[in-house]
Amino acid sequence: MYKNFFRYLISAIFLLGFSVNSNADFKVGFVYVGPTGDHGWTFQHHEGRNAVEAAGIKTTFVESVPEGADAERVIRQLAQSGHDLIFTTSFGYMDPTNKVAKDFPNVKFEHATGYKREHSNVSTYSARFYEGRTILGHIAGKMTKTNTIGYIASFPIPEVIRGINAMTLAAQKVNPNIKTKIVWVFTWYDPGKEAEAAQALIDQGADVIMQHTDSTAPVQTAEKAGVWSFGQASDMQRFAPKSILTSIIDDWAPYYVERAIAARDGTWNQQDTWHGLKEGMVAMGPYNSAMGADLVKEVEQLQKDLASGKVHSFTGPIYDQKGNILVAEGKVADDGMLAGMSVYVKGVEGDIPK
């Protein structure tokens, strides 16, 4: 009996050795901040993962991973268990990703929406969501009757501030009397709190609600109250068919497939990707016919111009809240300035929480 046992053991060790050496089991890991069914941010990353899987590459994912110490444990676990490429899909995974990358030089890391690439095996990627915000701002400026736009913000990071600014600038262009009211909820994902924030903004006179959080609660609240809203990260239309004017849709699939194949074939390089409407990483959901045919035509043209580069979301002159010039007349903001944006533009009320 023992003889047999050792025989099995030895063959098992051989098999193990083979599986480690062969490159057939190239694996990609994904770390998500929310559940895959949030119908927002994480849902879209998961769609990207499905595309990678469809391209014939093995993948695994871990969902609802809190930003912070837990994230490092999960990323390390993925790296240790033989994943060759790991996508970490939330801003708060920035430091944990770089920390783990240092200890696993042979594993490739891709961090979404961050800016730290401390090791040669870390790439960063993000989408120019602000281009979508420009379209939302244009629509909001035209649709509001109370001249008040309500904005549910998550955390005071450049990504969120950039969205608030892009939206406000576009809304001001079509409606100089516009006011942007902002409520910070300090969470990406708490439906109860997001709904309360939306309701507070509506009670304060906002008749267009915009969110930079991930659940569908704000659009549902807007639908109930009979005000306009916009979907975030994915097409949320079926949660609020009357209220949603359009959605900003993140499409990560082409990028994920391209990078996974590059890593498998050994052509992966460190890079910093920032794609927008042009490349299709940012897309717009269907426009609500309640906007009227003229406005739909207008924003479809705006969408084309943003994609072709004819129009830029941050075209000067742009002033900060105190009236200092940020971008001179005739110039556009460069990517460095956009990436580090930490002040409100003129017309936004309140202070950025520190």
């Binding site: 895959t36 949030d38 009211k181 409520v183 910070w184 109860g192 309360e196 304060q204």
Partner: protein, 310 residues
């Protein structure tokens, strides 16, 4: 901001709506604790109620079945707690904590297929009166039946504990199970009933979130409200009316701080976010200073294991 009277009415209406889960869960837990049982599983029972209610709504398309089912699921999961603590005499604190962890995990597993399904609109009562009467309209009318029940509950609980014989039995069991047992009261049975009642109310509180307040299922959607309910019971010194006051203050400041942000008050947002917790504790400590009354209301044998020698 328009500080007119009808606006304040709308504000009070939304404050009431946000305090409902706290009132329900805390009132249920209060009865459990008055019988001498400390159940820290409120969060777990709430989240189980939330997923059961939502799942039943999707499967049966019947909101009545969903609401009753959520209460039943609270009863079933609290039965586990009851069996462990009352029949197997395990430690209340440890078992309650385990129940919360178990509930959160189980609900996430059960809810896998229910994420991302839009909820159904829950019927509201007297919606025409809400629009037509300024100020009082949005306060008194246009709410779901669960809200009216939640606001009646603390008064019913108060009446039950103070004026009925059964209430006296519950209090006796909580204060001195040995004497109660000597009087011929079945202590274990009474405690079982109180635990199951607490479970039913927590289940309903969870269903309020997933069916009425934000009609959808999302993992961990109770987001710590169970713990707040637990704290409310203690800070309200086991008085049902003070639980109601505490829940309203907590809900009120949560909503008000969002409004203050929208208005643009120049107060650090982080401080505003902490304000509901701070103010609720301060107010409840101030209104329950009377140590004689605290002694009267505190269940003396809270959390202690009771067994009858045979």
């Amino acid at each position: 901001m328009s500080l007119d009277i009808s606006f304040i009415g709308i504000l009070i209406g939304s404050i009431m709506a946000s305090s409902v889960p706290l009132i329900l869960a805390a009132s249920g837990e209060l009865i459990t604790e008055r019988s001498g049982v400390l159940n820290l599983g409120v969060e777990g029972m709430m989240i189980i109620g939330a997923i059961s209610g939502f799942a039943l709504m999707v499967i049966t398309d019947n909101l009545f079945i969903a609401i009753v089912g959520s209460m039943l699921s609270g009863v079933i999961i609290s039965l586990i707690f009851g069996f462990l603590t009352q029949s197997l005499l395990t430690n209340h604190v440890a078992t309650g904590l385990a129940l919360t962890i178990f509930g959160i995990g189980l609900s996430a597993m059960l809810g896998k297929n229910f994420v991302g399904i839009p909820g159904k609109e829950f019927p509201i009562l007297f919606s025409s009166l809400r629009e037509s009467i300024p100020f009082f309209g949005p306060i008194l009318f246009g709410h779901s039946i669960v809200l009216y029940f939640a606001f009646a509950l603390p008064f019913l609980t108060n009446y039950f504990l103070k004026k009925t014989k059964l209430g006296l039995v519950v209090r006796a069991v909580g204060d001195s199970p040995v004497s109660a047992s000597n009087q011929g009261i079945n202590v274990i049975l009474v405690r079982y009933c109180c635990i199951l009642y607490g479970g039913a109310m927590c289940g309903l509180a969870g269903a309020y979130l997933s069916l009425i307040y934000t009609p959808q299922w999302i993992e961990n959607m109770t987001a710590g409200r169970g713990w707040i309910a637990l704290a409310l019971v203690v800070f309200a010194t086991w008085s049902p009316i003070k639980v109601l006051i505490g829940a309203l203050i907590f809900g009120g400041i949560t909503i008000l701080q969002l409004h203050m942000q929208a208005i643009g008050f120049r107060i650090p947002v982080q401080f505003l976010s902490a304000l509901p917790y701070l103010m609720t504790i301060i107010v409840l400590v101030v209104i329950s200073r009377d140590s004689r009354k605290i002694k009267l209301n505190t269940p003396t044998s809270l959390g202690r294991i009771f067994y009858k020698e045979k």
